[in-house]
Amino acid sequence: MSLVAPRSGPDAFRDIEWVREPHPGEAFRIGRQDGSLVAHWEGMGTVRASPDGSLVRIESIPGVDRDADEKWRTGAVRALVRHLQGHVTLHASAVAIEGVALVFLGDSGAGKSTLAASLCTDGAADLLADDLAEIEREDDCHVVRPSESAHWLLCDSAEALGYGSHSARKQKIVAHVRASPARLGAVVQLSFDACDSPSLSPLRGSAAFAGVSAAYVRFAVDDARVSQRDLHVIANLLASVPAFTLHRARSLRELSPTGALLRRLVRELATTELTS
């Protein structure tokens, strides 16, 4: 399979059939051009790939920040290529607690990175992913592969966790990382609610599907075979892994009791595993 060389200059984006325009607040869109899939991130760069992900060409915009470029290439770009190759990546943070992986889903601002960093800073967990969690099927279970080695935190979260920060931008903090994949114990959808203490409730049915589907990183959105595959992949995941909604008040003071709650969840999951 050949990959047509990218055009450059004023012609670079001519004749692209955009199939996913940016959502409000995003600067990302996907299209097709000359048989290749094209993904463009405003301010970062462009990726062109063959439909099966076997050939990929990445072009960063000249002068882009080095850390940001590395994060983009190893994160978002890698996730899209993984999808073309049939692998699952969720827009989520993930940690391993006592060898069991928890994946945290949620909209931007839901506290995914902060919760993962809090657990790792306490020494209760090792980081698997800050922003993009890679999930694989292994024998009879799902595992989360370690894919990222740093937390990216906003100023208030960094300060609350003891990392001094005066930067308005997200701060990169080296994490306690896990070296090997961890069995996926649960998917946890993060929710801020007016409640006195953090709690977990089962997330089932189409609501569980909607949560995972919203986090599922897809390259092509107009290919029926790929959509069909994605439906079955999500169904298989949720058939073997429990999902929960984590309710907690929007306050950094809730991080400690939330961590305790999640450690109890992991112990209960381990007990269930042993008795089932």
Partner: protein, 94 residues
């Protein structure tokens, strides 16, 4: 919409896929790339229609299972079936 006869049978439209998620079903229309979710009763209707039951059989079975009257359940089941037909997720006929 033409009234749906009680002895009608249905089949899932081409290019439509579904998967069960606990008590509910998610239906994917591959032609439009749209997902639909069916609640517990809708999922029972979907499963029965997909397996070749007539509308009458679906209503009678669910009326027993949910311990409710056929008359009451007919309204709910017909609403689900008409919605599925309108969205071309199922097609009337064997």
């Amino acid at each position: 919409m033409t009234p749906v006869p009680l002895d009608a049978r249905f089949h899932v439209a081409r290019d439509v896929q579904s998967r069960r998620f606990h008590e509910e079903v998610v239906v994917l229309d591959l032609r439009r790339g749209e997902y639909f979710s069916l609640n517990e009763v809708g999922a029972r209707v979907w499963d029965a229609l997909s397996s070749g039951a007539t509308l009458r059989e679906v209503i009678e079975t669910l009326a027993v299972d949910y311990d409710t009257s056929v008359t009451q359940l007919s309204v709910d089941v017909l609403a689900v079936v008409e919605d599925l037909l309108r969205r071309e997720l199922v097609v009337q006929g064997d």
